[in-house]
Symmetry: C2
Subunit: 156 residues, 2 copies
Amino acid sequence: MARTVEAVLDHAAAACARRGAQLTPLRREVLRLVLEAEGPVGAYALLDRLKETRAGAAPPTVYRALDFLLEQGLIHKVERLNAFVGCAEAPHGHAGAGDGHGHPHQFLICRRCGATTEISDAAVTQALAAAAGRAGFVLHGATVEAEGLCARCAQG
Amino acid sequence: MARTVEAVLDHAAAACARRGAQLTPLRREVLRLVLEAEGPVGAYALLDRLKETRAGAAPPTVYRALDFLLEQGLIHKVERLNAFVGCAEAPHGHAGAGDGHGHPHQFLICRRCGATTEISDAAVTQALAAAAGRAGFVLHGATVEAEGLCARCAQG
DNA sequence: CCTCGGACGATATAATGTATCTCTCTGCGG
DNA sequence: CCGCAGAGAGATACATTATATCGTCCGAGG
């Protein structure tokens, strides 16, 4: 897994460079922390972890890095949790499309175990686009976060 | 408009009573403030307004009332804005269904003027249910918030 | 060399949300 | 009438999330 994360980081750095942005050591470190987390992580949890290697880290340190990573489509914010997760599709490469910054995606959030799964369902995206269009609304992006029980928790 | 709000409040009180809950004067006052607001209102904006008539009001005062109103399906929370709006369908009467607490709904949020429109699109709801089912996910509710330009702002 | 802009450090503060404890009111059984 | 249980609400403190502001460093380009 550690190797995988490093590979994703390298890939992310290359993707940023292609767009004229820089995945600086700090930003890379924050991205690593997000990717290494088991699920969605809060900004202050990241800050605590970041402080282990960067004593001077403060809230803006983390938020600036997170903003950058969001813009680059490398992470997503889970609005219902005020937390962040790595983008499941970032390794496959894509840039600021569909969501203003990022690709169309949806989250399935388990209320029992907290597991958060990213999906990218075309039917949902299309249905929303159609509904918005019907209202004369020009769609730039959407937050779609489902709550319920994941397959594992639903069985138990 | 004032008459309309009062009518909605009376209707809401009746709906609560039917479910064995009470729309107390405090809760009614908070609901009134939400309904009178032009768009989504933050909890602390409500608190400030509430203090005009209830000097002792504190954060828990507002949050408890908001929690109650959410449970009763009389208001919704807009996660992207950390703000609250009256439920567009509450006047027509419905109770905690589809969303864990509330009916399935979606928001269209204008990034220019902040206008927030509630819609209830069956195709979106169904597409999301289908996608969740495919992942073995038991859906309880969903937050669907689109961002873009409302019809008015898109024209200008 | 200069200076300009982006990234980052550092401090402070704002905004949002909870925990907890107490008090009061109300209805109800003794 | 008394006292009790439970909901609603007051009050303080705290926790969490997010932003504002200012200063410094450093590399790119003139």
